[in-house]
Symmetry: C2
């Protein structure tokens, strides 16, 4: 297994984010949690993942405040995982990733998941990047600088 | 090492995208390529990654058309890696991830990378998700459905 450097203290916000949620399984867990999955057995069925792997990823996401552990909604004895506001804030990342995949990794006409506006059941608008003055920015229109958090 | 299921044929566009670029190192390579890094040695220095690991990730990204191999810009004998349009289209994913990290993984006032509008050198606007009619959508306002690619 490739030894991973930790980017926990990196000033790059992308690197530090990947340190927390860059794991391939973790993003799929967050996807499922955003979709309402709460029970260990549901995550397992959805992801086809081994129990120990899933348990370890859930534990990490709870430790980072992306998921919360809550009592079962039906009053049962098991615990459930609820997405937090910090986890909900990842929706634009997943929406942008889903749209990129749909555009670049599927054949025309192939069945594909689509993110829909819950109210109208129509596909959401394309996730775009804008300048503060409203101009749409493409990859060549942005640079990375240094600043302060919040 | 956890055996990875391949999600290559998955209908979920997030799963299929992660199959290609979900690897932690791959996204950091794409980040660097978007920032203008082209040479193997530059990627290595930026990422602190082992040569064999970096070579294998670069090869995968070239195979998926996210990077192209090109002759050296200075006429030298080495090859360089250039980001393609397919790779450039990942900028909104990285921008959204960077903003999430800056907001949730840094202490207030801590030094942090910031994505800037190249023209004004001001931070870009927050990446937001909208419905086709312009309403801003939060995590609870979207659902995943099935559709067709393109």
């Amino acid at each position: 297994m490739v030894k991973r450097t930790s980017f926990e203290g990196d000033v790059c916000a992308v690197a530090r984010s990947l340190d927390v949620i860059g794991d391939w399984w973790s993003l799929l867990i967050i996807r499922d949690a955003l979709g309402g999955v709460r029970r260990f057995s549901q995550f397992q069925r959805s992801l086809g993942a081994a129990k120990n792997m899933l348990a370890s990823r859930l534990k990490t996401l709870v430790a980072h405040g992306i998921l919360d552990i809550e009592p079962a909604q039906d009053g049962g004895a098991h615990l459930e995982y609820a997405i937090t506001d910090k986890g909900r804030a990842l929706m634009p990342v997943l929406a942008a990733l889903s749209q990129w995949g749909r555009e670049h990794l599927f054949e025309p006409g192939e069945t594909c998941s689509v993110i829909l506006d819950a109210k109208t059941k129509k596909p959401i608008d394309k996730v775009r990047v804008h300048a503060k003055d409203g101009r749409e920015l493409k990859a060549d229109d942005v640079v990375v600088g240094r600043g302060r958090a919040r």
